[in-house]
Amino acid sequence: MTTLGRVLRLATYAMQLALGGITAYAVLQGSAGMLANAGLPFLIALFPLYVRYRYDNQLSPTLSLWIVTAAFLHAVGMLGLYRTYGWYDQIAHGVSGAVVAGVGYALVRVIETEYDSVEIPPNLRFVFIVVFAGALGVVWEVAEFALSELAVIFGGEPLLAQFGLGDVVLDMLFSIAGAVLVAVWGTRYFDGLRSVVDRHVDGDGRDAGTDRRDTDGRVDSTDRTVD
């Protein structure tokens, strides 16, 4: 691994640690609101580690760093920066959209490489990534909504804040727009560019992302032509 790769990994670990710290602090304070806003991003930030141990399949350092950064920014923002600084609010939607898009991308890649029965042609991977990320965005909004409704029923403070119609719509829009960007980046046509970036980061010459056994001339054994 090159120095740059090592630096990226270190930055990733540092932010995972910081998120763990904030989560632990929330537990000690007994603050449910803080726990929800730090704990969920912490779980998302652990996703690259989970993939490594469960599937023995390392996500590229760039992708890991990106997922963890987005989760970290979201947690820190929810602790107060969103309300304190106007500019932080401006990037809020972009950041949470990036988390969702990143997780959607990673999920598709993991399913693709882990389950032999699932075959996604490279030129359709785009569709799957956008669908996964768009759906995750909706699940996220529905979860926030359900938690806040329950909080109202039990007479407490909403744990996860939904500020208004525009916020919900922009969150969903950014998830999908982010997924389109990631999908473009993750689709075959851009693999050349991507592997150059990853090789620089990883330094060992092989594809630093997950396996891509499907990119080169796999025989299309389907019998779907008419006649």
Binding site: Y115, V118, V131, A135, F145, Q162, D167, M172, R224, V226
Partner: protein, 193 residues
């Protein structure tokens, strides 16, 4: 997954019903356009486009999607003219569209989807289409001065409804189309010899 392909059929009765539905959809789309109802025109055009994918890919007017999901997808376009049950029917339609997209991807690409993944894909597609529909409604309200969404809570209940419809569609899909036995599906496979 040969069984999934049973949904894209080439039987003549199905072709007749499906072409009729396509005609109704095109008429509805044009009517929406004519009265300046841009959003429903987009909806209608999308359903028509998805319905015609197999026909265009095969260049064969007798190869069409099954009429049942297409009819489900078409219902809200009719319902919004009548003004009845538009919102719940829209979820249903979104789920039916998702189903058609999943089947087409399975039939016309090298994609291999085991049943669990096909069901998951139907559910997720429903959610994504619901999100896109919400976004469209929001910007239509902002830019075209329509009033589709009354507020955050209304949108959230739409999304909850769409989620429920998506899960229901996934379950239905699994039970109805995957467990209905290979006999039915084999005889209706695209280009079946």
């Amino acid at each position: 997954m040969a069984r999934l392909r049973g949904l894209v059929e080439s039987r003549s009765l199905n072709a007749a019903v499906t072409w009729t539905l396509v005609g109704v959809l095109v008429a509805g789309t044009l009517a929406s356009l004519a009265v300046g109802d841009l959003l429903w025109a987009v909806f209608g055009a999308t359903v028509v486009a998805v319905a015609l994918v197999p026909t265009v890919l095969r260049r064969d007017a007798s190869v069409l999607v099954a009429w049942e999901p297409l009819a489900l997808a078409a219902v809200p376009l009719v319902a919004q003219w009548v003004g009845l049950f538009v919102t719940p029917l829209t979820y249903l339609s979104v789920a039916a569209l998702a189903l058609l997209v999943a089947v087409e991807i399975d039939s016309f690409s090298a994609t291999e989807m085991p049943p669990w993944f096909a069901v998951l894909f139907v559910v997720l597609t429903t959610l994504t289409v619901a999100a896109l529909w919400g976004i469209l409604q929001y910007f239509s309200d902002m830019l075209l001065e329509t009033s589709f969404l009354s507020g955050r809570v209304a949108l959230m209940w739409e999304l909850v409804g769409a989620t429920a419809a998506g899960i229901a569609a996934g379950v239905l899909f699994h039970r109805y189309f995957l467990e209905s036995g290979p006999d039915v599906a084999d005889s209706t496979e695209v280009g079946g010899s």
